[in-house]
């Protein structure tokens, strides 16, 4: 492992390499692409949460001048979106917003008018529009295969939970709920399909990764994966909202095939709020067994997820089980989870995955446990926290772990000891901790590949499929390649986001970008460097391994870079390779897949302290300060790391305090960014960041993830701070003024102040 002083690019505060394009209005996003002959698609969606379709008549829509294609399940191929889910509603609709029919026309206004001409007759059926209702014995059964509306269950025990609870001195149980939450991406959902040639489907769309889209679309249209090309140049945010292809991707392709023209489908502002796949309602029951001196013996979580009408995101059901044993040295862990159908849009997750919302409840519960024991929660976390080298009950190994250091440093920097339990009424302070896998390998193949080409002028082109959704992945990949080759990040050109060109990469899921793709890019650059060294070494009279590459120069190790006759500029070296007898064109390749059969090689850790003030008259919460420490292995680009932390503090406080889709009978009542509350500038807290560098042995230059770990901890810290301010655990997010006022008034009516 290189020492920090040996690194010339890594660790630098590097502005984005695409900054010029982005600030000047030159960046091209999907909606900016207009193809010759392009049509505009619109989707007719179900107005009912559950209904039988009696009749669909598209004849009037089809007759409208300018309409080039109309598709519905009465006259289109009988396509499936997933195994049990038709692409266009067939016989029934199962949620408000379900795709019933679609139109492509020469003008968006004509397409909109054509939707009004489609006649659909429904027989409305009793619907199940809340998670609570879905579990009642008399609730209608939504799918014939799901008795009690349970789509799937998952049970996992690590160790012997019954024995561990029995051996506990104190067992505490708490319940918690989280709401429907929306990803509110900057760039609304959009897909541009060109399927005019039946042998090739081209699709321009923002995505977190091409392969999942390619595979799903190929399966639906009877193509090979390589016959589907996904182009994703600039991606306007993702926050787990662009993981898999959604119905509009398939419908754009279908309309394009039928019309013989490219078709663009773009969601409108309110449509965005009914076709999303964000967090569903979730119910949690946490149970923890501890000894009198504060050692955690057993952890248990029982989680019921709202799947929506289809179990599209069943994979989230498995995630809590391992997470429960990544933080603490415990004797046993028990997880019980179920995925329950409702008559609502299929659900997945929001920024922070399932871990943020879970932590907003779980960390309040553990805070409660600590207080029952009479312990400071910070000490309770620290006492039980894992150390480097820990082998968890689920088989996870933690080669690097800075959890205790994170706790110690936020406690110190936030003034925790002077404040916890000592703040004035309605001021609160809370601590949370968390961990996140860097690439949560769930299948044998969790591969990222990269290619690198060096032109005769010394310009390096890096081909990568990792999308840059704003997190700065392309810049950090350029930094990794530049560090290895001894050039500057500006010397690296990125070719990204085109599955016809870029090598295989699952994409930016499960915090795998920096870690997995970063390792692939490093391998590709090392491959190219080795090829170059094979030419240059003999010319300088040394073995290829005795060369140094840095500052755009190649020189003999032990001498100085400017030693005459003992060094070349990078460009001269490339010229020697290219114009030498071998005429070698340098091309590096790298492919990385964790050698573990499953689970990650590396985990990040974090601790945060939040300080808040609650106005007891209005119930409004002001977040005053968030102090965040994150063990990210190594900060490859500290500037981008701060950007990641900023966004996660913003989004974490937002989910705990504001964000909720207000639902009534399956309809969303607040489908806009004014009514679906997000923080604005004046609500942002002061932030202080502490980067803990534990230099992970498996990460590229020691780096681990920093894209999701922090938000999980922010949600825990803010939730605990608000609970601390009002005097009791709060069973629900978001902690809106209305909900807090009820708690404050209830406590006042019982003669309890915030500190009682």
């Amino acid at each position: 492992m290189s020492k920090p002083e040996d690194l010339s690019v890594i660790g630098r505060r590097q502005p984005r390499l695409d900054g010029f394009e982005k600030v000047s209005g030159r960046s091209v996003f999907t909606d900016d692409i207009v193809l010759p002959g392009m049509l505009h698609g619109r989707i007719l969606r179900s107005p009912h949460a559950r209904a039988r379709i009696i009749r669909i008549d598209v004849s009037k829509a089809r007759a409208l001048p300018g309409v080039k294609a109309v598709v519905s399940n009465v006259d289109a191929p009988d396509m499936l979106f997933s195994e049990k889910q038709p692409l266009l509603a067939k016989g029934f609709v199962h949620y408000v917003g379900e795709e019933v029919a679609a139109v492509a026309a020469t003008d968006p206004l004509i397409a909109e008018a054509a939707l009004d001409l489609i006649e659909v007759e429904y027989e409305v059926l009793p619907a199940v529009t809340s998670l609570r209702r879905a579990q009642q014995p008399d609730a209608p059964q939504l799918h014939e295969w799901a008795a009690g509306n349970v789509a799937l269950t998952h049970e996992k025990d690590f160790g012997d939970p019954d024995a561990a609870f029995a051996a506990s001195d104190l067992v505490i149980t708490d319940e918690f709920r989280s709401p429907v939450q929306h990803n509110t991406l900057a760039e609304l959902h959009v897909a541009l399909a060109d399927f005019t040639n039946p042998d090739k489907l081209h699709m321009w769309t923002p995505t977190q990764g091409a392969p999942m889209y390619q595979m799903a679309l190929a399966r639906a249209f009877g193509l090979e994966t390589s016959q589907v090309r996904i182009v994703y140049g600039n991606v306007g945010g993702a926050f787990t909202g662009r993981g898999r292809a959604k119905p509009h991707h398939f419908i754009a392709a279908l309309l394009s095939r039928v019309a013989g023209k490219p078709v663009k489908i773009k969601a409108t502002g309110d449509e965005e709020f009914i076709m999303f796949r964000g967090s569903g309602e979730t119910q949690y029951r946490f149970r923890t067994g501890v000894t009198r001196d504060g050692k955690i013996r057993a952890l248990e979580a029982d989680v019921t997820f709202d799947a929506g009408a289809h179990a599209e995101w069943a994979m989230i059901l498995w995630l809590p089980a391992p997470y429960l044993n990544w933080l603490y040295k415990v004797d046993a862990v028990r997880y019980r989870g179920r995925f329950v159908y409702t008559s609502t849009v299929p659900k997945g997750s929001h920024h922070g995955g399932i871990f943020g919302r879970l932590s907003a409840g779980w960390m309040q519960h553990l805070n409660h446990v600590a207080e029952e024991l009479g312990m400071d929660p910070a000490e309770f976390h620290r006492k039980n926290a894992i150390d480097p080298g820990h082998h968890a009950l689920d088989g996870s190994d933690f080669a690097s772990c800075g959890l205790k250091e994170c706790i110690d440093r936020v406690v110190e920097r936030s003034g925790w000891k002077a404040k916890y339990g000592k703040l004035p009424p309605y001021r609160g302070i809370g601590i949370g901790i968390g961990a996140q896998a860097s690439g949560g390998k769930n299948a044998a193949n969790d591969t990222s590949a990269a290619m690198l080409r060096v032109a005769d002028d010394g310009v390096v082109t890096l081909y990568t499929g990792i999308p840059d959704m704003g997190q700065g992945s392309h810049t950090v990949m350029a930094m990794i390649a530049a560090e290895v080759l001894g050039v500057e990040p500006e010397d690296i050109r990125i070719v990204g986001g085109d599955s016809d060109i870029t090598p295989f990469d699952w994409g930016a899921f499960s915090q795998r970008g920096t870690f997995t793709t970063g390792n692939a890019v490093k391998l590709a650059a090392e491959d190219a460097r080795a090829q170059l060294a094979g030419i240059v070494g003999p010319l300088l009279g040394v073995a290829p391994t005795d060369l140094e590459f840095a500052h755009r120069r190649v020189w003999v190790r032990g001498s100085t870079p400017d030693a005459t006759g003992r060094s070349f500029s990078f460009r001269e070296a490339i010229g020697k390779a290219f114009n030498g007898v071998q005429g070698l064109a340098i091309m590096g390749r790298g492919s990385f897949n964790s050698p573990r059969p499953s689970g990650s090689l590396a985990y990040s850790f974090g601790a945060q302290v939040a300080e808040v003030e609650v106005d007891p008259e209005s119930g409004a919460v002001k977040v005053i300060k968030v102090t965040a420490a994150h063990d990210l292995g190594r900060a490859l680009n500290p500037l981008a790391v701060e950007g990641q932390l900023d966004g996660q503090v913003f989004s974490g406080m937002s989910q705990v305090l504001y964000e909720e889709c207000r639902m009534d009978g399956g309809q969303i009542l607040n489908p806009s960014r004014l009514e679906y509350k997000l923080p604005r500038t004046y609500e942002l807290p002061e932030v202080e960041y502490i980067l803990v560098e534990t230099i992970d042995p498996y990460g590229p230059f020691g780096a681990k993830e920093v894209g999701e770990g922090p938000i999980v901890v922010t949600m825990a810290a803010v939730a605990n701070a608000v609970a601390n301010a009002v005097g009791e655990m709060l069973p629900q997010i978001p902690m809106t003024p209305w909900r807090l006022l009820r708690v404050i008034r209830h406590r006042r009516n019982h003669g309890l102040g915030p500190g009682d």
Binding site: P15, K22, V23, G25, D31, E187, G237
Partner: protein, 159 residues
């Protein structure tokens, strides 16, 4: 439907464009003039990504204003901030401060920031907060956006 030709002055250039009462200023900028730097978001005035500056340098939501109202008016879009091939100070500051992440809202955020600087060359914290209240940036949390504006407000130039 009312329809007619109007002259729009965009980034210093005069354009004669045919518009109807159904068209917004954003439709004309993106659809007719192909100035794709200004982004289309919610189209209901709640996200702010379509923000441009009017002739007085104020921030305007181009998705909400009918194009017909803009006859003979001047508009500055994100494409109009560069001078002699150089980024405006606020644009350069956004790069240096990492006030840009995914970049989709960035044109709207920069035009909002530019409006703050146009109206209050040395903006206070409150001026900045007010000026950015109409835009949402989910990636940056506006933290580094505010740093970039503060810098230009204080020094008048990019870092």
């Amino acid at each position: 439907m009312k329809k007619g030709f109007i002259t729009l002055h965009v980034n210093g250039d005069a354009h004669e464009v045919l518009v109807s009462s159904q068209h917004t200023l954003l439709d004309v900028l993106r659809g007719t003039l192909k100035l794709m730097g200004t982004k289309e978001g919610c189209t209901t005035g709640s996200c702010g990504v379509c923000t441009v500056n009017n002739g007085r340098g104020e921030a305007v939501l181009s998705c909400l204003t009918p194009a017909l109202e803009w006859a003979d008016q001047s508009i500055t879009t994100i494409e109009g901030l560069e001078k002699n091939g150089c980024l405006a100070p606020i644009q350069q500051a956004f790069v240096e401060y990492h006030a840009v992440q995914c970049g989709f809202c960035t044109p709207g955020v920069i035009m909002s920031a530019q409006a703050v600087l146009n109206l209050t060359p040395a903006p206070t914290e409150e001026d900045i907060n007010d000026g950015l209240a109409g835009v949402i940036c989910r990636c940056t949390g506006h933290i580094k956006v505010k740093e970039a504006i503060r810098h230009v407000g204080e020094f008048g130039t990019a870092p």
